[in-house]
């Protein structure tokens, strides 16, 4: 273990290397560029490869291509680039190719405010590409967690054959904190399930007990077809309903039946907390401070931090809603994840604390909401 002072963006890069990432393709954009810079320096040292592509569309395309070739792949971007990547997030979901996308959120819409923080891409990370598809989105609160969740992002991506989005914000990306980096060899790494059948029996999109079919890499003797069209179990285009329906059900089921594994939540609650703050990313830092101040004043308040924002932690928030009378959701947007909290909170009061001008939601704003009864 080594202790270092570093940015969230750097921690993401180290997490990727610890997870076994061997390919990065990206395009410079504030406030994510440090990830590309550090990986251009570090990847060749571990035999990995870095390429700066001509735009973000090409970046994610190259990542998917490299992943099909067997390399764990990463790209990193921010709002405008994330918008450009949406088509290929859908392509990765459709073709079930593992890939990790980092979006360090900045203030939008459009060019917005490149050096200001935001949590404005919460809904885009869920629904940005067209069509129904599952997605996993992770949100670190600290620099150390940026490392840990980068590793998790790769592991989920390989395990479930799905794109995974690591959603930072400018605060976490650029903030420096002390991080205890583990020995990389001790980090748990998940590899995609390889097939063990003879090539002529291989069905790239066939049924499997786990709902995640084994994935053969190109160039290893399993010649098959990959397409963004709806496809049958061999990967060939299909328009048959009896092939489309089971596919759509399976790709959702492979995530839904593993919510226990995927939904990462930190709870700091007691049964008597009538007010609970639900937060994620940089806003969770303000929220934790506000909760601490409130407790010093003997106000009973609980705190739930969502590290996985998609799929949404329905069970956990429903449980909170059974205990609490009021749920406070601070966000650096005009209320995006609050919509989900409201959806599962029933008749319990959901109080939004929002700021969408590039500044953080302050602990004071959240404290006022906690004490405003």
């Amino acid at each position: 273990m080594t202790t270092k002072l570093m940015q969230g963006n750097e921690a993401v890069g180290w997490g990727a290397i610890a997870a076994g990432c061997k390919f990065f393709a990206g395009y410079p954009i504030t406030p994510s560029t440090e990830i590309a810079e550090m990986l251009s320096r570090e990847l060749p040292k571990v035999g990995g490869k870095f390429i700066q592509m001509e735009d973000e569309i090409a970046s994610l395309a190259a990542c998917i291509g490299a992943s099909v070739g067997g390399s764990k792949s990463l790209t990193a971007t921010s709002g405008p680039g994330f918008s450009l990547m949406q088509e290929h997030i859908g392509y990765a979901a459709m073709t079930e190719v593992p890939v990790v996308i980092v979006d360090v959120q900045r203030l939008g819409p459009s060019t917005g405010q490149p050096t200001s923080a935001s949590q404005g891409d919460v809904m885009q990370s869920r629904w940005g590409t067209h069509g129904d598809h599952p997605i996993i989105v992770l949100c670190p609160v600290t620099v150390g967690q940026s490392f840990e969740l980068a590793v998790k992002a790769f592991n989920y991506s390989e395990k479930y054959r799905t794109p995974v989005i690591l959603l930072l914000d400018e605060v976490i990306g650029h903030m420096r904190e002390k991080v205890d980096l583990p020995d990389f060899d001790s980090v748990e790494r998940v590899e995609r399930t390889a097939t063990d059948v003879p090539p002529e029996w291989y069905k790239p999109y066939g049924d499997s007990l786990s709902d995640v079919p084994p994935m053969a890499n190109f160039g290893e003797g399993y010649r098959y077809h990959i397409t963004g069209l709806f496809h049958d179990i061999l990967g060939y285009p299909t328009t048959r309903l009896d092939e489309i329906d089971p596919w759509i059900e399976r790709i959702h089921r492979k995530i839904e039946r593993n919510l226990n594994d995927i939904t990462l939540v930190e709870e700091d609650l007691s049964e008597s907390d009538k007010t609970v703050v639900v937060a994620y990313g940089a806003s969770a830092r303000s929220a934790r401070h506000a909760v601490k101040l409130a407790r010093q004043r003997r106000t009973k308040v609980g705190m739930v931090t969502l590290l996985t924002i998609w799929p949404f932690a329905e069970d956990e928030i429903s449980r909170v809603a059974r205990i609490a009378k009021r749920i406070i959701v601070p966000e650096m947007n005009l209320g995006q994840l609050a919509l989900e909290v409201e959806r599962v909170a029933g008749r319990k009061k959901v109080i939004r604390v929002n700021r969408a001008n590039g500044e953080m939601v302050t602990p004071q704003m959240i404290l006022e909401a906690i004490e405003d009864r």
């Binding site: 393709a25 067997g70 190109f218």
Partner: protein
């Protein structure tokens, strides 16, 4: 007793893929597919070594029929996907198959930059001067004056010279032929696939269903005859005036040079970085 006719092409078609294919009767794309298979067969490449990456459109449907590692990607982005795959698997022969709209309009930026990097990918552009699958809208290679579904009064945009763009951008092999000159096309594709660098073959084709119908060019046979009569070799074209040349399809190898290939340069970079790093750790 009927004699058994052996077609080389059949050995490279997928036994599990249902035919017929998606193309209209008389389409030229199948000829390019045959040319590609014959080129691969002549080089003697192993099927496992080959990856075909395509975009969207009529031409984008080509890889699915062939028994290689095949990837049908998004519109215009075949070269970007292929770039990642080639970097991850430098020993594979990565071949992209694109249409004119696919490669040069939506994918124009990737086309330029893949050529600029001189990455070892073969790009085959089937140029039928129209968006066929969506019903015949004008493309970046539609000739001036031609009619299209979105150019009902005739196209006023000048066509893009594919080979000139590839050469200027940095490709190391550039050739053009037509689907009528299939023996020549086989040879150019073979040379392109053998090339260690970014290689481009423009296969001039035609679309009888949309372009031919809207421009009253007759049957498939008439359009084939047009390719024959309206094209000539580079040496013959040199005798024409620039104005006369404009009207012709000039066939031949435009450019063939040797330059360092991208993935090899990167392997060298890794080797050098790792050696320097090992030396640094030894000193420390």
């Amino acid at each position: 007793m009927p004699t058994q006719v052996e077609h080389t092409e059949y050995m490279y078609l997928r036994p599990t893929k249902k035919f017929p294919n998606v193309w209209c009767a008389g389409c030229g794309i199948g000829i390019v597919m045959g040319a590609l298979i014959r080129a691969i067969d002549r080089i003697g490449l192993d099927k496992d070594e080959i990856a075909l990456v395509s975009g969207i459109g009529c031409t984008g449907r080509m890889p699915v029929y062939m028994d290689f590692n095949t990837m049908h990607t998004t519109h215009g982005r075949a070269l970007a996907f292929a770039t990642g795959l080639k970097i991850a698997r430098p020993n594979m022969k990565v071949i992209t198959i694109m249409g004119d709209g696919d490669a040069l309009a939506i994918g124009g930026n990737h086309f330029i930059h893949a050529a600029r990097r001189n990455i070892g990918i073969t790009a085959i552009v089937v140029n039928n001067a129209i968006y066929g699958m969506t019903g015949g809208q004008y493309s970046p290679t539609t000739p001036i004056g031609s009619k299209a579904a979105t150019a009902p009064y005739g196209n006023i945009e000048p066509p893009m010279p594919i080979c000139d763009v590839a050469k200027a951008a940095g490709a190391t092999y550039v050739a053009r032929s037509t689907v009528y000159h299939s023996v020549e096309l086989d040879r150019f594709i073979e040379q392109a696939v053998r090339k260690n660098g970014f290689s481009l073959v423009e296969a001039v084709s035609y679309c009888p269903t949309t372009f031919g119908r809207m421009n009253k060019l007759g049957t498939t046979v008439d359009m084939m005859r047009l390719l024959k009569e309206n094209s000539l070799s580079i040496s013959a074209a040199e005798k024409l005036t620039p104005e006369e040349r404009e009207e012709k399809i000039v066939r031949g190898v435009y450019y063939d040079v040797e330059k360092p290939e991208y993935t090899q340069l990167y392997e060298e970079l890794i080797h050098n970085v790792q050696q320097a790093e090992a030396a640094r750790l030894e000193r420390a």
